[in-house]
Subunit: 617 residues, 2 copies
């Protein structure tokens, strides 16, 4: 029994009052964000689990946390004493949370906060239920010292970094909507995903740590568009950059906002408070378009309860955002090289100082932050640095604290996964450094991870492929020895936006919402295989890749990846017994490119060192 | 102008009478069969195109045939003079037939024969239409000398070959149905796919050439099951093997059928004539379950027009049928070895006789039929033999005729794709034989095809993978040089059933009905990459593979393929310049297994020859 079991008990009392049999708590906000601000970390409040993804289910007698492969180890520790059972999501015998909820809620009353559960998920989990109660946020009612939602200044993303005006983006979105089979001419497209809004309207903020977005909703109509953000009702901070005829400014006072009120959306919406829309007086010749995998169930219910037609569309902005334009690519390539230089410096520093000075996991984060901060375009880390020494590396999303940071010696492996938000790009890089003697199995793991990363990087593929088709290029070297890593191989990366973004990824599993998007020229994706052994070690090697043309022949158009990350793969961990001749060529070619590209960014001493660490095997 | 343009003109007159703007003609029967009997070859009648798959769309002024990559060349020839435009389905700029129909039919009247268009496809193509006319078969009305539907004797598949009784299969299907989320206790599951019915009820016939199935529908209820086949109304040939309490017999006279009438389905269905159901007096506490990707639109409309609830389910029998049981596997392995011996004999014969005796493409089919017929368990070919010499090999589904058969010389490549229906298994095998000098490009094509086949055969993969994940294992060697083959890499194979069957396959594209089934232990799948160069040559190498366990580790359960086809890959076509060291090992290991396995099946002279043609490279 601990503080969390007390909170669960409190929750069960509220459930009983409300007549709820099964209560569901997501790791989400009103915008289906992957990473949420502290205000929305209800799962951590109720269970103690601090991972970035999870689902909690509470019934009268039992409680479960679903955590994915990145968090099996961490979740097991954090749930101790809470009475909450860990469901190792992704294991063959563990159902998906939605399937599990369908079974638990069959013929019963299911409850959840409808603002923070997306429509499609909510519909799935309440499919078998007798009744659905979505109006109350029961965890919020218990959580007395809940942090406020954070609202930071919204700034405009200049075209010199983003490469396309909002007007142009809106025109493309409307063209896409007009191609879709929509049963109404007079539509209002409701956009809730924060990074899609940030991309479409070329705005950025710091409302969610590491993710430069603003809490907002947006409405796009055939002849108008509006962002609702940082205000109560119609005031005070509506953003002007969102209207196609308005010029972007740094902020927008009430007076300006008033000008747009009548012109645009009063016909559709008359109230919009505290980011939970209160929709009134909606004309009936409309239909609402929304991505039901993103917009909250409460919003959907609002419309459908009033018999207003709601049509699902996949957010067209998500697909457009995923394909980087020339400006974004040019900016990103530059940011990636500057960031590669930072990690090369770290690699040299930690390998040459381990065992000689006091170093712990926190030192790594501090070093990276200091070096990155020297870059005038650096804003903040793109996610919490993972500096995980020895067995801590087995926890995919480990985060050291001052209390727990492990001391680093001249032995074993150190996994460092970090990235920066620069004004010209978002980076995400992992390297595992060999700090001294490692075991044969560690060498095998390190080498096969390098092979996996390199084989995917060097894949050629016909236009039309998705990440699901390509994933095996990375995994096959692992699968040949009966190994697997319990996470995806890669994810899209935003441009000065979320470090994880869709619509594409590299995974072998096809999700409940269907396959990921076809890989297209201009998409950025990570390539990050690894080996994770609980209590022993962890290896991950991660590059960012750009989809570029390969060739066009009579058989079609072929694509390939251009490498964006120029950091050595630590040769001290390579055992050539696990490399084929072809793998050796891939590794040597990669290292040659690393040296050629990065030498100009480094001082002479480091150049000599880099030459040695990019030598052919 | 030719006979086909006349027929299109006739069809347009009927369309005008009926007020139809867009008429759609599928290559299908009432059961969504892939291969159809002559009665259902409406596309060949109206367009002259004789391929096994296609779609025809006719409007007032234009007509189109959609043919896939296997048929681009053949269709172009056959459409000459018909005025019908060829749509090269699968090319990036060509829409899918259903998308194309949505555009053509927007705001117009679409027509088709609702018996032969499956429900989901029909719903998709009529989505944008003003009105749908599905009651008349306009092509049938023109087609005066249309062949009758073929009805052959139905026979019982003994448990010694099929390994599981109908009772057991029905119990498994019912268990699966009870797990599904069905909104009614009192269901009738309507099964229309002929091979699923044949598998479930352990019956076989010869109603469709090469596919040992009987035209039939089946109904499965919680406490009853019935096959409707080969009779008018309730008579005369209802099959007894279909009832869980009946013993299988070779045929079923009217008298016996009468016994089951009251007991089982009269409550649901009171008439069933000519295989197009006439449903009457259906109780209203029912729901009908059906696979809407298979059952005809007319049937669905019958129910929904009467406000009877219809619920889509994926046919559970399809998944069960795809996983072969121990008996089926044992039988199939034996059939595959006997069939491999036939093809080895062909290989030896054609390579040693080309240029010495008169040989043409028809001779190959005759030789195979003769050799296979010596096997007492052989019934018929599992599909029309493709014996395609030189440039004919570029047509994936080429069929020689006495008039067109190409004479075979001691040069170039001969592609032979053939298979047998044996009482203990269905085979499907392709080899390309080198009959004399070939070009460097042909050698490259032949070698890369071998590499592609072998790399997929040797893939290891975690449980949970689908064909979409594995396809790149075969294609990557081609994609690395900008080549691709315009067809899937592999398909399921029935057990004494259709040579193509689901629910799994090996392709990179994810179809409109979603991804293929997860690969499971016991599934059989072909592995048949190739290179096709119009007017020049064609190469294909095809083995049948069985999914078997690889290993279980802390990371999960891993699967691999067991090879079922033991025929040399003609070493005269291999250029070792295109083989990595690993590829050489794969080829040599494969050839060693071919010799070890097949030597006992061959006479001494052939053994010596086989030793030479399975030598290490």
């Amino acid at each position: 029994m601990n503080i969390y079991s007390d909170r669960i008990a409190h929750l069960r009392k509220l459930m009983e009052q409300e007549g709820i049999d099964v209560y569901y708590i997501p790791m989400s906000d009103c915008h289906n964000s992957e990473y949420v601000g502290d205000h929305f970390r209800c799962i951590e409040f109720i269970s103690g689990f601090s991972g970035s993804a999870g689902h909690v289910v509470v019934t009268k007698d039992e409680a479960w946390l679903f955590a994915d492969g990145r968090y099996y180890i961490q979740a097991a520790h954090q749930l101790e004493g809470s009475g909450i059972q860990l469901m190792k999501w992704g294991q063959p015998d563990v159902p998906d949370p939605d399937t599990f909820l369908q079974i638990q809620a069959k013929g019963k009353v299911i409850g959840f906060d409808g603002n923070v559960v997306n429509t499609n998920f909510a519909k799935r989990i309440s499919k078998t239920a007798k009744n659905v109660k979505f109006q109350r946020d029961l965890v919020g009612e218990i959580w007395t010292d809940r942090p406020e939602q954070t609202f930071t200044d919204i700034w405009h993303m200049p075209v010199e970094y983003c490469g396309e005006t909002t007007e142009s983006k809106l025109a493309r979105i409307r063209a896409e909507l007009s191609k879709a089979e929509i049963p109404c001419e007079n539509y209002a497209y409701l956009l809730a995903s924060l990074d899609d809004i940030a991309w479409t309207f070329n705005i950025r903020a710091n409302d969610v740590p590491n993710n430069p977005v603003a809490y907002a909703y947006a409405i796009i109509q055939p002849d108008a568009a509006k962002v609702f953000s940082h205000g109560d009702g119609y005031g005070p901070n509506w953003y002007k950059g969102c209207t196609p005829d308005g010029e972007a400014t740094e902020s927008l006072p009430i007076a300006l906002a008033e000008k747009f009120r009548d012109k645009i959306l009063t016909r559709v919406i008359k109230g919009f408070t505290d980011y939970t829309p209160k929709w009134e007086d909606i004309a009936d010749d409309f239909c609402i378009l929304m991505d039901m995998n993103c917009v909250g169930y409460s919003v959907w219910r609002f419309f459908t309860d009033r018999r207003i037609q709601v049509v699902h569309i996949d957010d067209p902005s998500t697909k457009m955002k995923g394909v980087k334009n020339e400006t974004e690519i040019r900016c990103l390539k530059d940011a990636m090289k500057r960031d590669s230089a930072v990690v090369i410096k770290l690699m040299h520093w930690v390998k040459s100082h381990a065992g000689k000075i006091h170093l712990d996991e926190m030192s790594i984060d501090e070093y990276l932050l200091q070096k990155r901060s020297e870059d005038p375009l650096f804003m903040e880390p793109s996610f919490d640095t993972i500096a995980a020494y020895k067995e801590n590396g087995a926890m995919m999303h480990y985060e050291a604290t001052a209390q727990t940071a492990k001391s680093i010696q001249a032995e074993g492996m150190l996994l460092v996964d970090s990235g920066g938000q620069y004004k010209d790009g978002t980076t995400d890089i992992t390297r595992t450094f060999i700090l001294g003697p490692i075991t044969d199995e560690e060498k095998k793991a390190f080498t096969l991870t390098a092979v996996s990363m390199l084989r995917l990087l060097n894949a050629k593929f016909i236009d039309g492929c998705r990440g699901e088709n390509l994933d095996i290029m990375a995994r096959e070297p692992m699968w040949q020895v009966g190994w697997d890593y319990k996470c995806g191989t890669g994810h899209g990366v935003g441009h000065v936006l979320n470090v994880h973004e869709g619509p594409h990824n590299i995974r072998y599993r096809i999700g409940v919402n269907g396959p990921s998007a076809v890989l297209k020229e201009g998409m950025v994706v990570t390539d990050e295989p690894g080996v994770y052994r609980e209590g022993q070690y962890g290896v991950r090697t991660e590059n960012e890749l750009l989809v570029v043309p390969f060739m066009e022949t009579e058989d079609g158009k072929f694509l390939q990846f251009e490498n964006l990350t120029f950091i050595p793969i630590d040769l001290d961990g390579i055992d050539t017994a696990y490399l084929t001749e072809e793998d050796k060529k891939l590794l040597n070619n990669y290292h040659e490119a690393v040296y050629e590209t990065m030498a100009p960014y480094l001082e002479d001493e480091l150049k000599v060192w880099l030459k040695e660490y990019t030598r052919p095997v």
